[in-house]
């Protein structure tokens, strides 16, 4: 009798799926797929159960959560994160760079997983990590795909204090979110590989804008 569980996807990708699931950022199809995937995986279930229990605890006693939330303390604030958070981000970002990009990374605002129809959910695409901030002159770290996905999951290190991060390509412009590990991430469709139009990650640091070019060729098989 097989006491094991069904196969796991890569750990970093699994963590990313889990984070989006717990944040309720998956659409209905993705949620159904991921719930079926995690059904027999104790480590994922432990995270879901803890989240369930925290939700229960909050529901049992909402007053505890809201008792000190005075209105003036909830006023919207400008910018991204408080100074303390920036210091934390800096440390986390440095650690992530030193660890050669093992960070999971946050996803872009739009749904990063293309709709089914291209062989189903992207179980394990190729992953390309630009773990320094020197752009296209520095070879990226590549984790080769374990699926036939045409998509490449790209992570780019940015300064921990970077704000207002955008991914621009031609006329396209998307806002990216810096992960706690100091990376921005996005999915790149290799069938949309116009090498003449570069991908540019630009961001603001201390009020000045900076740009980091990601060569499309490095994402389409010319990585070394």
């Amino acid at each position: 009798m097989n006491a094991g569980t069904s196969p796991h996807m890569a750990a970093w990708l699994e963590s990313a799926w889990l984070a989006r699931y717990l944040d309720r950022r998956l659409d209905a199809d993705e949620t159904a797929w991921f719930e079926a995937y995690l059904l027999d995986k104790p480590d994922l279930l432990a995270a879901v159960e803890a989240d369930n229990t925290m939700r229960d605890a909050i529901a049992i006693d909402p007053a505890t959560l809201r008792s000190s939330a005075a209105p003036e303390a909830l006023a919207p604030f400008a910018g991204a994160a408080p100074r303390g958070a920036h210091r934390w981000l800096r440390r986390a970002g440095l650690a992530a760079v030193l660890a050669l990009g093992v960070g999971i990374g946050a996803f872009v605002q739009r749904a990063p997983w293309p709709a089914r129809g291209d062989g189903g959910v992207i179980a394990n695409p190729e992953r390309v990590v630009f773990d320094t901030m020197r752009g296209e002159n520095t070879p990226p770290l590549v984790q080769h795909r374990a699926s036939r996905s045409r998509y490449v999951f790209v992570e780019v290190a940015v300064p921990p204090t970077a704000t207002d991060v955008h991914l621009r390509r031609g006329q396209r412009d998307e806002t990216l979110v810096v992960s706690p590990e100091g990376f921005v991430s996005f999915l790149f469709d290799t069938q949309d590989a116009d090498e003449k139009t570069p991908l540019v990650v630009d961001y603001a640091v201390d009020g000045r804008r900076h740009a980091q070019v990601v060569a499309v060729g490095q994402l389409t098989g010319e990585k070394s």
Partner: protein, 194 residues
Amino acid sequence: MTADDGTAARQADEFGWVARIAEGDGHAETEFVRRYGRGVRALVRRHCRPGDPAVDDLTQDVLAGVLDRLRAGAIRDPAALPAYIQATIARAASAEYRSRRSEVAISAVNELHAGSDPVDDAAAAQLHGLLRALMQTLPVARDREVLARFYLDEQDRDEVCRSLGIDAAHFRRVVFRARERFRELLLAAGLHES
């Protein structure tokens, strides 16, 4: 052996107990419950409102329903079993709430808990203690409000960010740290499920 042969062999090994359930093997039924029981309960909880006392009944219903289908040999592709179980959970939870004549507010569900059973009372008291411990790690009122809006009010991330004037990265940090801290507290209190 071709790749297809390898996949078939792996599935036969992984899901061999599915066929044995159809043949009346009680041990295989035990394997089914051992493998999926925890996951079914976790997902039923997720599909239900917080603290809903119907969770255990629904979990039993789902496991029994799927087991009946397996006994009847109605699930021909074992690899599709997890998706079938997930769909059964979603349907069961949806049917449960549809069947209730009127909306049961979260507060009403909580009233069902309060004072209904000494064990439930103790569990609620423990959760209350853990929540208070978690709050000590969230000194900023706005961060507490992030959790309240996301978990209690069921606002989505963008809605929370917009209403509190924070960005998505800040939201992620607050929620991620709260989850990690709460999980540590559960472990320390011996309340984690296994």
